[in-house]
Structures are given as C-alpha cells and as structure tokens.
C-alpha cells in the first residue's frame, strides 16, 4: 500500500514536471534563442539500483529541457544536457530534489 502511494507520487511529480518543462521549451522555441544557456551537467547519483537509474534517466529525458546523454561506467554520475541553465548548481539541485528523491522512494 505504501509502495503504491509512492508510485503514484512518482507519476504525479512526473506529470507536473512534464507540464512545467513543456512550457519552458515552448518559451525557449518562441523566444530569442541567443539568451539560452545550454549546458552538459554531471549529476551525481544517489540511486544505487539499476532499475532506479533507468527510471531516473528516462524521466530526465522525457521532461523537456533535460536529456540524459551518458552514464559513467561506475554508474555514479549521469551526464545531462540542459536546455537552459543560467545557474548550473541550481539546475542539478532541482533535478535531484524533484525527480531523484521521488524515484528513490520506489527504487532505491
């Protein structure tokens, strides 16, 4: 029962993030492209299970504005391309706080 609730929370977080970042992509496309600050960021992972990493990487890719590009061979760092990251540390912290913490509740 607790697990089911956690999964529902993952789904809800995902849909909210999907909505928010779709708006971000629409603004990026229709606004001036010169102002974008894209970046490839190294996101340190706290998830240890392979299934959790796959779920996190897929969710990162599916939310527009971030695409996972590669994972380090030891599986501790996920490399993510971010559409617009004026503040890199904040972007990493945001990804970890919203998506990763939810994923860790279902697949540690």
């Amino acid at each position: 029962m607790k697990r089911a609730l956690a999964w529902i929370r993952v789904a809800v977080t995902f849909i909210v993030e999907l909505g928010k970042s779709t708006i971000a992509v629409v603004r990026a496309v229709l606004g001036p492209t010169e102002r974008l600050r894209p970046a490839i960021l190294a996101v340190p992972l706290d998830i240890r299970s392979s299934a959790g990493k796959v779920l996190f990487a897929n969710m990162v890719t599916l939310t527009p504005g971030t695409t996972s590009l590669d994972i380090s061979p030891d599986g501790r760092i996920l490399y993510v391309h971010v559409l617009d990251a004026p503040d890199r540390d904040a972007a990493i912290a945001d990804m970890k706080a919203t998506l990763e913490s939810r994923v860790r509740e279902v697949l540690p």
């Binding site: 496309v29 894209p38 695409t67």
Partner: protein
C-alpha cells in the same frame, strides 16, 4: 461538452507538435533541437491521443490510447538518449557558451571549425566556383567558397 473538450485537446496537442517542429528549425545546435523534437512531441502526441480517446469513447479506445502512450513513454527516451550520445561522440558542435561536463569523459570526433560536415566541404571544394574569381579576393579568400558551399549544404 465531451466534444468540445476533445476538440480542445486535439488543437492543443497539434499546437505543441507545431511548436516542436518550429523548434527543430530554429534552435541552434543538435542537442537543443532534440529537446524540442523528441519530448514536446510526446506531450503533443499524448494530448492528441487523449482527445481521440474522448472523441471515440469506450473502454476499447481508452485501452488503445493507454497502450500507445505507454509505448511512447518507454521508447522515446531511449531513442533520444542514443541519438544524443551518438551526436556527442560524432562531434556535433555545441552552441557556444555551453558548459561541457562530458569533455574528456567520452571520445569526441572533431568536425571542421565552421560546423560543416567534412564530407560536404570536400564535395564543395571539388566543384568549380567561377563567380568568386571575378571578385578581388582578400587573403585567404580562396578558402571561402569551399566553406560557404559546405554550409549551404547543411541545414542551418
């Protein structure tokens, strides 16, 4: 009422798909274009499918809509990830000013500086460029026809 909601969903989904297409044309580098193409595409398709589910109604239609969305969610990130990784290793130029935490982690092929694909530049150099010879050529001017020719061959 249902019809109006279905129509709204269809129009919204189509609008997002259109914006995604504009993004593919407008955004400056391969990675940015992928953001628009793959994922806004999923949202657009999802909304349109939801609209179609509403319009047709019935468990049968919703089952199909659910399955299509499920398969989209499972397959799109994998293709996007593979494309992005391949673009990076293949040396697709990054928009200037991008931070690159992957530098030195993944091997990266180099592409000549003006961003044209080497094979296209070679192709352009093999073609005669008579118009240039009539103009007073600045130093290094002879190298230009090849590069501009290479550029016109690539979508910008």
């Amino acid at each position: 009422m249902t019809e109006i909601l279905a129509a709204l969903l269809l129009v919204l989904g189509a609008a997002i798909a259109l914006i995604a297409a504009i993004g593919v044309a407008r955004l400056p580098d391969a990675f940015l274009r992928m953001h628009a193409a793959t994922k806004a595409g999923v949202v657009g398709a999802g909304l349109m499918l939801a609209g179609a589910g509403l319009a047709f109604g019935g468990a049968d239609a919703w089952l199909r809509v659910g399955l299509i969305v499920l398969f989209l969610l499972v397959t799109v990130p994998i293709s996007s990830h593979a494309l992005g990784r391949a673009a990076y290793i293949g040396g697709a130029p990054l928009w200037p000013g991008s931070a690159d935490a992957l530098a030195g982690v993944l091997p990266r092929q180099s592409i000549d500086e003006d961003g044209g694909l080497p094979i296209l530049a070679k192709h352009a150099a093999a073609m005669p460029a008579p118009a240039i010879e009539a103009m007073p050529t600045p130093p290094g001017g002879l190298a230009r026809p090849a590069s501009t020719g290479g550029k016109s061959g690539t979508p910008s």
